[in-house]
């Protein structure tokens, strides 16, 4: 069975696999020697050239045939860009890669600044058309932030975690806490309360702002550290443990901060995308309705 199956099956994926094993080990930005950057640049330059060369009557705006062309390209692009959310989650078969999609998404998304702007013909006003335009620019702006954090933060995420998993970080904290609990037994009431407060505080508390900035002014562990003198042996031991706890907390908070920075923009990028599609639909309908 295996022998004959082997002979037939071997060819099927071997070439594909060999190519992958020889993989181009580069980021989505550099993907295929910046292929999508060049395509996007070409597209932008072509539309600019068209805008300058084609005589649009009565004046350049969305209503001329060239305006319609730009509008259609822009609309198509926006719909395609939005589909990244689906592509990311639908793990179908076939030789696609999300890295290539992201690469194309970023560069083609940027080219929308040119295409969209030319489509408006620089006519801005207080209406649904301009709303769609502004929303698009906002989506793109958040996208640019996203690319910047994707390019710069992973290294610090990696350095911060020191090959520890999130579960291991929490386990390490629990272990320190257990030691603190018994070490704090001989302390006086006031100092013991400081330790209890430190142990009782929720690691994930502190709110969104603390998480994003990594600064926790209400940190009970920090307060306990400074609040307990190093008089007795027991106190010295507790403070040492509290310092260890602070370090462990710092690692966890560092991880939370970096991950928050890597994700927060998507909470704007995605809802704005939905708003943009709504505004875009309104824009398209109104254009055809009032034609």
């Amino acid at each position: 069975m295996a022998g004959k199956a082997q002979a037939g099956g071997a060819k099927s994926r071997f070439k594909q696999d060999e190519k992958r094993r020889d993989s181009d080990h580069v980021s989505f930005l550099k993907h295929r020697g910046f292929r999508w950057l060049w395509i996007a640049l070409g597209l932008s330059l072509a539309t600019i050239a068209g805008y300058l060369l084609i005589d649009q009557q009565p004046r350049p705006n969305g209503g001329t045939w060239y305006g319609y062309t730009l509008g259609t390209i822009g609309f198509g692009l926006i719909i395609w860009l939005s589909l990244l959310g689906v592509r990311k989650r639908r793990i179908t078969t076939g030789a696609w890669s999300l890295k290539a999609w992201t690469s194309a998404h970023v560069y083609l998304g940027l080219s929308l600044v040119v295409i969209g702007t030319l489509h408006t013909g620089f006519q801005i006003g207080w209406n649904v058309h301009t709303l769609a335009y502004v929303l698009m620019l906002l989506v793109i702006a958040t996208g640019i932030y996203g690319v910047i954090v994707y390019a710069t933060l992973p290294q610090s995420l990696s350095a911060n975690r020191k090959a520890m998993t999130r579960a291991q970080m929490l386990d390490a904290l629990t272990a320190i806490d257990r030691q603190l609990e018994s070490a704090a037994q001989p302390l006086a009431r006031a100092e013991a309360d400081l330790v209890i407060a430190a142990l009782g505080q929720d690691v994930f508390g502190g709110g969104a702002l603390a998480r994003l900035t990594g600064s926790y002014p209400d940190c009970a562990t920090a307060r306990a550290c400074t609040g307990i003198s190093r008089g007795s042996e027991a106190e010295t031991r507790v403070v040492a443990l509290l310092e260890k706890r602070s370090e462990q907390l710092a690692q966890i908070r560092g991880a939370l901060r970096i991950r928050a920075a890597l994700e927060v923009w998507l909470f704007v990028h995605i809802p704005l995308t939905i708003a943009l599609i709504a505004a875009l639909t309104a824009h398209v309908i109104s254009v055809f309705y009032y034609w």
Binding site: A2, R21, H25, S27, T102
Partner: protein
């Protein structure tokens, strides 16, 4: 029939009794009929044991519990010429041979209680568990010293000492200390300071628990004496008496081999994995003693039960009984031309394939269970170049043609009937080196790697023959260009196969030996001392050769070569190699070219070292790090570039979504060096450790080189223990999730990726209970067009899958990715 069933414990089937509570026991192979009068079908451990107890009683089996056999001796006359050689090996490797004169039946079975039972025939079905090694210090016989831990949650508020730092001891210690609510004070004793017998992952977890204060590791400590409530330890700093309510000793177990040999039963070889020599009716070399079950080499319950049935029939005089696997073996020959009976086919293969000549009919049957017989017409492809495959082929009739030149299929070398092919894949675990076609009507037997290993341990002459042929073929294939068997014959004669430990140096820089080596299995690292540090030059996979420079130009060794993993090399004397070059100008040219290439690599890296010392060090250390993490034996491994990874875990989600809803990779876990991370995920080893001990042989290598586990997995967990990289998990296949669309639009279900344990459990209960736990691991997205989902689903390009020979190079490792 007058009989007694001796059982050393107070219950039947101790191995099954010791399974985890509620374990789903599987009845593989499904195509084998059950002959035994006792029922057995897949089900819960408790149900099966219950049925057996009931039926054993119903069949009026005379069971004697708590009766452990200690020795079995014939009480008749000495059997002339029947002397058993027993080789025992001391720890330091010295051998000791004792001789045992066999005596005829009846047999006296001496029990540990001192009682003696007399029997005409004895059936040994004692499994392979053996006895746990016992503690020997004073007090070791106290009741709170135990050798097993069934349920760690059973104990609370106790001072518990674990003795032994193998995997079992570590797992027990961690289990007992896991839940602080149990308030156990757990210590584990280590005679030394290292943990040589435990898995790396276990040791790390243990260290972490120790550091976290969950338990205490006491190094350089041994038990001195035990008394109720206390234990006295001998430590480096003197004696120490500490409270202790329970001692769990996990100091290994002695396999039953010594006991079995003492009965006069000979094993097929000195190999630790060898089984007793048996006749077609399971009779051992001691007349009247029969061996069945796991001890006989059949670890599946159904086989065990059928053999129990058959052996009693044989003893009762039923000689015409056909073995229960007859239909399975008959099916293997069904498609072949020639109208032979099963026996005739077995004999045909045995007589015609030279390496099978030394087998007996029972061995042939067992062998055939793991092998296939096939017929090929002229021109039909048997396997293709670059196809994966570790099986060996024997030609029973006809002949085959090897396409030695991939560019020109018309150039072939014949291999005649009786000989073998495919041995390179068997030995190195690498892909097939050439396409092979049948030259005429040909019958071959394809011998699975497992069967081939068994064969080599059972029949020493087969082992020698395979070795010789493999060396010859390796030489022919490697140096190619028109060499003939006669050309390499002297070199084959002088060649020597040597085993090398991981890290062992084979060629030392600066030395002036002149031998040439071929990597037969495993892989090598080439290093050169530049300045004050060794610098990694290159990685040599199986099938490459090294050491030729010194032989050709007579210089001292210019670099060191050491084994990256446990390897085998073929050593060729330098003069022999030179003689071959001298008689073969084309070969000489090729060797010179290879040598120039290697020189260029060295020169390139050396020049870099002057300008970019940092980059070269980084490259060198990264390469070493990867080798330390198993890349040296990998064929296809997932790496994460943490300069690009945003931690979105889309790779894990994609894995779960393309494989029954369970992820086979743990991205965060694993080691990292210089931002290159080796996640916990299968490396698809050349010689997979996980395959070593799988009762139903459920672990196989697939058509794309992937190591995968098929549905016949019985969930025993052996592979999980055997994989050194901790990549196998045991879990139940969860029910299907609602579709992506339903989740996006209606918020139904847990969304993309692996659902939480709670969700899986609830959903499974709705469908009538969880499925059986089976071993799951990466299958390299086998059969999925487009290839591994983890790589395809990574948005940034952080996740890559590579093979060591392509990735462990300067250009790849020093590449600027951002």
């Amino acid at each position: 029939m007058s009989h007694v069933l001796l059982e050393k414990t107070d219950h039947l089937s101790d191995t099954i009794y010791k399974y985890q509570k509620g374990k789903h026991v599987m009845a593989t192979p499904s195509n084998l009929v059950l002959r035994s009068d006792i029922d057995f079908e897949a089900g819960k451990r408790e149900t099966i044991l219950g049925i057996w107890d009931e039926q054993i009683e119903g069949h009026k089996v005379n069971v004697k519990y708590m009766a452990e056999a200690k020795a079995i001796r014939g009480t008749g006359d000495p059997i002339p010429g029947s002397v058993q050689q027993i080789v025992s090996r001391a720890r330091d490797g010295t051998k000791n041979v004792t001789e045992l004169q066999r005596h005829a039946p009846p047999y006296a079975i001496e029990l540990t209680s001192g009682e003696v039972v007399m029997a005409e025939n004895v059936v040994l079905a004692i499994g392979t568990q053996g006895n746990p090694n016992l503690m020997r210090c004073p007090g070791a016989d106290l009741p709170h010293v135990q050798y097993q831990l069934d349920d760690p949650t059973e104990y609370v508020d106790e001072h518990i000492i674990i003795v032994g730092t193998g995997d079992a001891g570590i797992e027990n210690a961690r289990g007992l200390a896991e839940d602080p609510a149990q308030r156990n004070t757990v210590s584990i004793l280590n005679r030394g300071t290292e943990f040589p017998t435990a898995k790396d992952a276990n040791v790390k977890a243990l260290m972490a628990d120790h550091e976290a204060g969950k338990l205490t590791i006491r190094t350089e400590s041994e038990t001195k004496s035990i008394e109720p409530g206390f234990i006295t330890l001998a430590t480096r700093d003197g004696e120490l008496r500490i409270p202790c309510d329970r001692i769990i000793a996990r100091i290994g177990s002695a396999p039953p081999r010594a006991f079995v040999e003492g009965c006069g039963i000979e094993f097929s070889s000195e190999d630790r994995s060898a089984f007793p020599k048996l006749s077609p009716v399971f009779e051992s070399t001691a007349p009247g003693i029969f061996v069945i079950g796991a001890l006989a080499g059949y670890p599946l319950i159904k086989h065990c039960m059928n053999q129990g049935h058959d052996v009693i029939e044989f003893i009762g005089g039923n000689t015409s009984l056909k073995p229960a696997d007859e239909p399975i073996i008959a099916a293997k020959f069904a498609g072949l031309p020639g109208n032979r009976s099963t026996e005739e086919w077995l004999e045909f293969l045995r007589a015609n394939v030279s390496i099978l000549n030394g087998m007996n009919p029972l061995q042939m049957r067992e062998f055939m269970l793991d092998s296939e017989a096939r017929f090929y017409g002229p021109g039909e492809v048997i396997f293709e170049r670059n196809a994966p495959g570790s099986s060996l082929f024997g030609i029973a009739s006809g002949s085959v043609a090897v396409e030695v030149n991939p560019a020109d299929p018309s150039i072939t070398i014949p291999i005649e009937a009786g000989s073998i092919f495919g041995e390179v894949g068997l030995i190195s675990g690498r892909r097939r080196g050439a396409t092979i076609r049948a030259a005429e009507d040909t019958v071959v037997v394809e011998i699975s790697r497992l069967a081939a290993l068994k064969l080599q341990s059972q029949v020493p002459s087969a082992k020698k023959a395979i070795e010789r042929i493999s060396i010859e073929r390796q030489l022919l294939q490697m140096f190619g260009s028109g060499l003939k068997r006669e050309d390499v014959a002297p070199l084959v004669e002088a060649a020597q196969v040597q085993e090398k430990r991981a890290g062992e140096v084979i060629v030392q820089e600066g030395a002036d030996d002149k031998d040439v080596y071929i990597v037969r299995r495993g892989s090598m690292i080439v290093e050169k001392q530049i300045g004050d540090r060794p610098v990694f030059l290159s990685y040599l996979p199986a099938g490459s050769y090294f050491g030729e420079m010194a032989a050709i130009d007579g210089s001292a060794r210019t670099a060191s070569v050491k084994a990256a993993i446990k390897s085998e090399v073929i050593r060729l004397p330098g003069e022999g190699f030179l003689a071959l070059l001298d008689s073969n100008p084309a070969l000489r040219e090729k060797a010179m070219r290879d040598m120039a290439n290697r020189r260029a690599t060295t020169a390139f890296i050396e020049s870099r070292k002057d300008e970019f010392a940092g980059a070269v060090d980084l490259y060198s250390q990264t390469a070493q790090f990867l080798v330390d993490n198993g890349i040296g034996e990998a064929t296809d491994v997932l790496l994460i570039d943490e300069k690009l990874c945003i931690g979105c875990d889309n790779c894990e989600k994609a894995c779960a979504d393309s494989h029954d809803g369970l992820s086979r990779l743990d991205r965060e876990a694993g080691k990292t060096y210089a931002h290159l991370h080796v996640p916990t995920s299968c490396r698809h080893c050349e010689h997979p450790h996980c395959m070593a001990d799988c009762p139903p042989n459920a672990i196989k290598r697939g058509p794309d080189g992937e190591v995968f586990i098929d549905d016949t997995c019985i969930g025993c967990g052996n592979c999980q223990r055997n994989c050194p990289y901790g990549v196998i998990r045991m879990d139940a296949k969860p029910p299907k999730k609602p579709s992506l669309l339903e989740w996006m639009l209606l918020g139904k279900g847990p969304g993309p990726g692996e659902a939480s344990y709670a969700w899986r459990k609830k959903a499974a209960e709705k469908e009538g209970g969880q499925k059986a736990k089976q071993a799951i691991k990466c299958d390299m997205c086998s059969g999925i067009d487009g290839g591994p989902a983890c790589v395809r689903a990574c948005p940034t390009g952080a996740a890559i899958r590579v093979s060591p020979d392509k990735f462990l190079t300067f250009t790849k490792l020093a590449e600027e990715t951002q």
